[in-house]
Amino acid sequence: MKNIEKPIGRALTALQALGKKVKQTGPKQWQAQCPAHEDHKPSLSVSEGTDGRLLLDCKAGCTFESVREALGLNKGEAYMRTEQKGNFVASYSYFDESGRLLYKIHRTPDKQFYPQTPDGKFGYNGSRRVLYRLPELLESTEQVFIVEGEKDVDRLRGLGLTATTNPGGSNGWRKEYAEPLRGRNVVVLPDNDEAGQKWCKAVESSLRGVAASVKLVELTDLPESGDVSDWLNNGGTKEKLIQLAEQQSEVDVLETITESEWELPAQLGHFDLPIFPLEAFPGQLCVFYEFCEAVAESYQVPVDLPAMLALSVGGASLAKRIVVHIRGDHWEPVNLFAVVALPPASRKSGVFRAVTEPLVLFERQEVERLAPIIELNRNQRILLEDSLKHARKQAVASKNAEDRKGYAEQTDKIIKELNELEVITSPQYIGDDATPESISSLLYDNAGRFALLSAEGDIFDLMAGRYSNGNPNLGVYLKGHASDDIRVNRANRDFKPIYIHKPALSIGVAVQPDVLRGLTLKRGFRGRGLLGRFLYSLPQSCLGHREINPRPVDPKIATAYQNKILDALRLEPNVNTDGKPCPHIVTIGSDTLKELDRFAKWVEKQLGPGGDFASMGDWAGKLVGAVCRIAGIFHGLIYAASGNPAKAQIDAETMLGAIAIGEYLIPHAKAAFFEMGADPEIDSARRILDWVSSKQKEEFTRRDVFNSLRGRIQKVVELDDPLEILTNHGYIRDVSQEHKGPGRKPSQKYKTNPLWLAQNTQNAQNYRADLNSAHSAQFAQEVAI
């Protein structure tokens, strides 16, 4: 009975009396058919607060009053969301010059603001930011009051004044907002707090040389954080406000900027990236989980580095041994291209040694095993070549036609034997530095598989044509990834073309983040799909947080990992009906395929216009294939020891693990494409920062920047957006003086954020110190060996 006295008790009783279905979904939470409309499925969610008040939310959109009344609740006993996003108390519409709605800003009771575009999506979603009530502002010729907040604008507008504000509150003023105020008399009314003062400076600074006059009116007798609405509530009037503005002298903006007002800038392109999900490794590969964790601990690196590299090594070990058949004509090989970006002195080389050790060991074993066979093969070839020479001599020296014919037939026979004799060379499965031309040879010599695994970023320079006068030779990488046949003309094989059937090139590299920058601008890298083939990981560096005496890798774990990779390397290929080697064909179970289809459907949706992948379709379009490759690697590693990985289908656990890694890779790829300069304005902004930092520029002009970036920037106007990005992020400030009188207007002048400059210098010194200590450590280790 006691419960019935409470709002929740009455609400539940009312719902039951109305014949509505009610289901308790959690502690103090219910889902019910809404009593305010013909509800066929439960649309109403009811939550009880600690004070007994109810939060009601009808997802069908019923009004709060209608639901409250239908439930027989009194006012104050219940609350309801008025919008999908939250309980908004006000909404302000922003229009462009022509009166077209660009976005709305919704306000919650606790003064949180949420923009929403006309398509219903929350966020600005790329829409142009404009001042509040822009059409009215442009229509009026009166003095303009700039205030902090739409509520205040509407209050002043109600008094017949022209007023405006910016979206985004006290941190949201942008330089571009000054343009509609060009030539206008402006009065700035900041809130009575620190944020208001900073906002005021930003407004004044942007209006310098743009507005006809700028006056600052600091209203007195305001409470902390009080605004013009509070001032009006306390007896302020329109006339008094105009009088205060008239009494105020114009602001000398330059005096308002002081060094002490700098703050550290907002990071340019900061991404909150996930950590590699080690639990995505299938249960039967828990040794990979343990090994990657142990290597990360021992070398004090993020787990992403050994994990991404282990995937590459797994792919390289199974390359040309298995392929994944998805359905119909869709097949995927299992070789991967992976790149991890980490700063220098991150102990990448040590990690590479640990993870690639089984490959190196296998290669060494194979070299030893094949040495006598290679010797026999070489001897056989020499004998045949000598016999050929001898037969030719005899043929030439023969005096009668019959003998000559006999020697000629003998010569033909030897040539045939020579052609049929397979050239056995010493195997080389991995390398860390190879030109595209040598990769072709290595692929040919190693039956179509080769892995480029390197802790350096030289590979991208080689791809870009370091040794071919800057002419990129990307064919071998593109075909080597896709397993498309390669035809190469080689000078050292009698100029006969060589054919590499279904090659499988694997790449695993760790580079410094700087190496990624600008890669999209390298000829063919993006356009021909090279960058879309890589799986990227940009983990957070451990530098500065590393343990001095970490636990080394448990040899048992290292051996278990090594054995798994060796099993894969020793897996014999399948044999086709012609008796020739071919890969084992691994298929996907129907239930497992459902999971892959679900993921593929989601990816496809994001690839469409306005989707999350619209700007990186080259990469995301290959994501499902990459996931299948990872699933194939997992499956191959699990079943390699059996000698027949095709005996089982890829199961759901394996596929979900691969998809989980695919989902991990998505935000990393976004960050990588950002780093690689997919956005040219951001890339230019970065280059400006690099130049400012390297030259330690405390002040510079636009002309200085143009000269420093000459070649990359064609026109000075191209610097507008990058400089504005840096200004908005707080890296620089425009300190140009207003130009009066005749003569050419001087180049715009900027001041660098002294806090950032100092911090950057310190970081650079720390990097150098770290490099030195790493070199010393390496030297000490070499001496000890």
Binding site: T50, L55, Y114, R598, L656, I659
Partner: protein, 72 residues
């Protein structure tokens, strides 16, 4: 996203993949995470729920929205 890691956990817990995917707030993509935090704040501030109740309720709501948006 199909929240594969969460589905993997479901599978490993011996549950059917047809059951709703349990979502882990710590693994939500940033956009959803912001929506979650925002909803918690509204439920706590406006709905008068305790922080714990607000988080539980917000997770239920966000999970429902994620499921309908992402079709998981």
């Amino acid at each position: 996203m199909i929240f594969a890691l969460e589905r993997l956990r479901l599978l490993r817990a011996g549950k059917s993949l047809d059951s709703p995917t349990p979502l882990d707030i710590d693994n939500l993509p940033v956009d959803w995470r912001i929506d979650f935090e925002e909803r918690v704040a509204i439920l706590e501030y406006d709905g008068g729920l305790t922080r714990e109740d607000a988080e539980t309720q917000a997770l239920t709501e966000i999970a429902e929205r994620i499921r309908s948006t992402e079709q998981i």
